[in-house]
């Protein structure tokens, strides 16, 4: 087992401001960045604030930016860095800082409340739900989401444009709309709710210009852009905005 000393710069501060603090800290074989942050806590800065839980990439708590890139601290191995490199750890940039590496992610919980819930089909009793695996595959892919909010953090629509936050739900919650829209038994339509239209009109789907940044940072490897956002854009267009579709429907309706 080989150990070495790494140089870290960790952002410390709060809503009033702060800056990068330097640490020299021991690293052992197989460790991840979260191990190093914990070692800094235990030996040098006991009040260093960081969120974490499972340390296995399953809960999505320890999101931060490592050398400027949004990542999970627990799934970033030290072996991906050069031993001489100084590693910089900063809080998620799109959200207000609370303290050190902890940010206020309340934006995401507000957006979650704005997405209408699953509508159970009427007349189908619990235990009577029948769905084929191939029909649930797509929604299941989106339900792999661990809500780390890295996609929300990296999305340029809000990353540098605070003013867009009210109108834009972000990739995670547009994907939630897609998940419900593709759920084989969701009865939103019967209840008078058009999920695709609300994606466009209320959750800001139109702001997305499919640069796929969200897909790139997703630690679960969900193809957010290709499988959730683009198909939903296509269907929105099919229904309401595509001028050719619109024209076609007019022409056909013309009395002969």
């Amino acid at each position: 087992m080989s150990s070495y000393e790494a140089r870290f710069q960790v952002w410390r501060g709060d809503a009033q401001g702060g800056g990068l603090a330097d640490f020299a800290v021991e690293v052992h074989d197989g460790e991840v960045v979260l191990d190093i942050v914990h070692r800094i806590q235990a030996t040098q800065a006991p009040d260093l604030a960081v969120r974490w839980n499972c340390k296995a990439g399953k809960c999505g708590s320890c999101s931060a930016e490592i050398n400027g890139r949004p990542r999970l601290l627990c799934m970033t191995r030290m072996s991906v860095f050069d031993r001489t490199e100084t590693i910089t750890v900063t809080p998620l940039r799109a959200f207000p800082v609370v303290r050190d590496l902890v940010t206020d992610v309340g934006f995401n919980y507000t957006k979650a409340r704005e997405i209408p819930a699953f509508v159970p089909p009427s007349g189908v009793a619990p235990g009577e739900y029948r769905m084929l695996q191939e029909d649930v595959d797509r929604s299941q892919e989106f339900r792999k989401c661990i809500e780390c909010f890295l996609c929300q953090d990296t999305c340029h629509v809000v990353r540098d444009h605070e003013e867009n936050k009210t109108a834009f739900a972000g990739p995670r919650f547009l994907m939630r709309v897609a998940e419900l829209d593709m759920h084989p038994l969701d009865a939103a339509e019967e209840a008078g709710l058009d999920r695709r239209r609300t994606a466009q009109d209320e959750h800001g789907l139109g702001y997305c210009n499919i640069t796929k940044c969200c897909t790139e940072v997703c630690p679960e490897g969900i193809r957010i852009t290709d499988n959730a956002l683009i198909p939903m854009k296509e269907r929105v267009v099919d229904r309401t905005y595509d001028p050719l579709v619109w024209l076609g429907s007019k022409i056909r309706r013309r009395p002969s």
């Binding site: 235990a42 006991p46 604030a49 839980n53 235990g127 339900r143």
Partner: protein
């Protein structure tokens, strides 16, 4: 005079994992204004780490399954120490609880005809676990979270406020249950909780006649564990400090398969689904050693040869199951013994192999997070090579002693407990898959009865006096003065160091195999740590300060660790999650005996008590005889192995 902010609720749920959220949903649907308090962000609770599935006898995979079979398996797994009425309710109600999740939007893996697929697991006679790949816990927590949001949306439509009837206080920690009159000295009816916001360090009080504990387990007292930082035994300690007893605390489950390499991931869970889906355990000689460890009580149920075991996957009706699927306690002990005998893997575990058992694409589809976890964290491709695994502290069977039907804690009116923090359901050893179903069944029951209790004598709400609130505030602030004042006895202690020493102590001395002298030594070390923990000091201020949070959690971990050590020393037999090297056999006379842990000196300040004296007193009680119609589900020859003579003929 206290200036702590107070709010009034009907039901307060402490913990937002599966049990807490299910309790909150039920309480709110029954009309109670309900507050949920959790240490992490909403949706991050430890339940997300559950992998394999939810056990429920829906009979989708095998028509012979039913609640009676599930009940029987649960009692066998728990070596008949289970609170049998809980096991009965659990087996009966689990299917409804799973189906209900579908009506809230859950998407389980499907059978060919569109029903919920069910997989094999250790100790379950038939394929019984509803699952989503190997991320079932995430599906459960997300579904409950989204159901809560949908209830809040309803409330918003009616009242204009999302949080008018159901509110989640996230990143807050409860440090005391408040009572009327304060414990000790009276009935100690629940009056609410004292808590602090992690973000700001601000104190607050939620007043409510009903409090549901749903705080999970205690694994963070052990060095090698699959549990997250939240598992510091908070609910266990809160119940003790309020005067409620804990039951069966000697039973701690070591999951047989945790990662062993690299060191930084040691203890992270490798799901039992790996074995349920066909994975096998081998030692360094390449031998499938589990065939050498089938205990007498399970001899008729498990295949004696590899040939029969391998046939079972395709023809379960005419072959017996492979011994890799024995209950977890058996497999964990076997791995421990192999490593001790010098037949372990290079890093002190054994080999768990799927690569030679199924095609790579099947592994990736059925075990996606295991594939990901080993690839990312250990550079191991599990489709091409074997995993190295070893036991890891995973679950505590012991917990708050509760009424089987209502989840009410014993002796403290208004206090309820559900999920891992509650004791009794799993006896001496929990079967895989029975935890997620436990959360749903008893979470719902706790929520229902907490709401009913709160609606009862509503005019007569318990009062919470300022003295208790001020005492709780002073207790929570002690770590800051430790730094400044240097109290008698020595310099301030680093809470991280104390925590590491506690984990080492429990791991080495009260771990998977236990010996009398070591447990005595553990109790001495715990006493010394308790004295030093009084001087746990912190730097900085109250805003999001992990050092301070840990200093406060130490009180709970030390209390709970003492419960485990004391009860383990007392029980002179081996059963389930309690293995004594000096008493290696299961003793039928012990089957009826429950050990209860109580706070020994309730009047004392937990930190100020004489460090040499213990904080925990034990008492014994005999369990109720199992109802005859439930006993009739077993063959007489099997019962003889568990029950004492007089029980058989009663």
């Amino acid at each position: 005079m206290s200036v702590v902010d107070r709010q009034e609720w009907d039901v307060v749920v402490v913990g937002a994992g599966g049990a807490g959220l299910r309790a909150a949903i039920e309480a709110r649907e029954r009309g109670a204004r309900t507050a949920v308090i959790c240490k992490s962000l909403f949706g991050k609770a430890h339940t997300v780490m559950a992998e394999g599935g939810i056990a429920a006898a829906m009979a989708n995979a095998n028509e012979h399954d039913g609640w009676q079979v599930h009940f029987r398996d649960t009692l066998r797994g728990g070596k008949f120490l289970n609170q049998w009425r809980m096991a009965e309710l659990h087996a009966q109600e689990a299917p409804e609880r799973v189906w209900e999740l579908e009506t809230w939007g859950a998407l389980f893996d499907r059978t060919a005809d569109g029903r919920i697929a069910q997989r094999n697991f250790g100790g379950h006679e038939y394929p019984r676990l509803a699952h989503v790949g190997d991320r079932t816990g995430l599906e459960l927590i997300r579904t409950l979270q989204q159901k809560i949001v949908s209830l809040q949306q309803e409330d918003h439509r009616e009242t204009g406020d999302h949080e008018s009837r159901l509110k989640v206080f996230q990143e807050c920690t409860v440090t005391r249950i408040l009572q009327d009159p304060p414990f000790p000295g009276g009935a100690g009816r629940v009056g609410g909780v004292f808590a602090y916001e992690r973000e700001s360090g601000r104190f607050f009080v939620l007043q409510a006649p009903s409090v549901v504990l749903a705080t999970g387990g205690i694994g963070k007292s052990f060095k090698v564990t699959s549990n997250s930082w939240e598992y510091t035994g908070d609910g266990h300690a809160l119940a003790l400090l309020a005067g409620a007893p804990l039951l069966n605390m000697e039973f701690v489950q070591f999951h047989p398969t945790g990662m062993v390499w690299p060191p930084s991931v040691k203890g992270i869970l490798v799901t039992e689904s790996v074995r349920g889906d066909g994975g096998v355990l081998r030692n360094s000689e390449g031998r499938r050693f589990m065939f050498d460890y089938i205990p007498d009580v399970f001899r008729e149920k498990y295949a004696p040869t590899e040939e029969e075991a391998d046939r079972w996957y395709d023809d379960p009706d005419r072959n017996r199951r492979p011994p890799e699927l024995l209950p977890r306690d058996e497999v964990a002990r076997a791995i421990n013994a192999e490593v001790k005998a010098g037949r372990g893997s290079p890093h002190g575990g054994v080999f768990l192999d799927v690569s030679t058992r199924m095609p790579a694409e099947v592994v990736r589809r059925r075990l996606p997070s295991m594939y990901h976890q080993f690839k990312e964290l250990a550079d191991v491709d599990i489709t091409a090579e074997a995993m190295e695994v070893g036991p890891t502290c995973h679950y505590v069977m012991g917990g708050v002693a509760v009424d089987s039907d209502t989840a009410a804690a014993r002796g403290v009116p208004g206090l309820f407990a559900a999920g891992e923090v509650a004791g009794g359901m799993h006896g001496s050893n929990r079967l895989g898959g029975n935890s997620l179903s436990d959360l749903l069944v008893f979470g719902r029951r706790a929520g229902r009865h907490a709401a009913a209790y709160a609606a009862g004598p509503s005019a007569d709400r318990p009062a919470v006096d300022d003295v208790q609130v001020d005492a709780a505030a002073a207790e929570a602030l002690r770590p800051f003065s430790a730094e400044a004042g240097e109290p008698a006895g020595g310099p301030p202690e680093n809470p991280y160091t104390l925590h590491q020493e506690l984990q080492q102590t429990m791991n080495d001395l009260v771990g998977i195999i236990r010996r009398e002298a070591e447990m005595e030594q553990a109790l001495e070390r715990l006493a010394a740590l308790r004295a030093r923990a009084r001087r746990a000091g912190v730097e900085g201020h109250r805003q999001f300060n992990p050092g301070w949070h840990l200093a406060l959690d130490l009180r709970n971990m030390l209390l709970v660790s003492e419960c485990v050590a004391r009860a383990a020393l007392e029980r002179t037999e081996s059963r389930g999650g309690h293995t004594r090297e000096d008493h290696p056999a299961m003793d039928r006379a012990w089957r009826r005996i429950n050990l209860l842990c109580w706070l020994a000196d309730p009047a004392g300040d937990p930190a100020a008590t004489d460090p040499e004296r213990g904080r925990i007193a034990l008492s014994r009680e005999n369990t109720d005889p199992v109802r005859p119609d439930l006993l009739a589900l077993f063959e007489k020859e099997e019962l003889v192995k568990y029950l004492a003579e007089e029980e058989l003929y009663e």
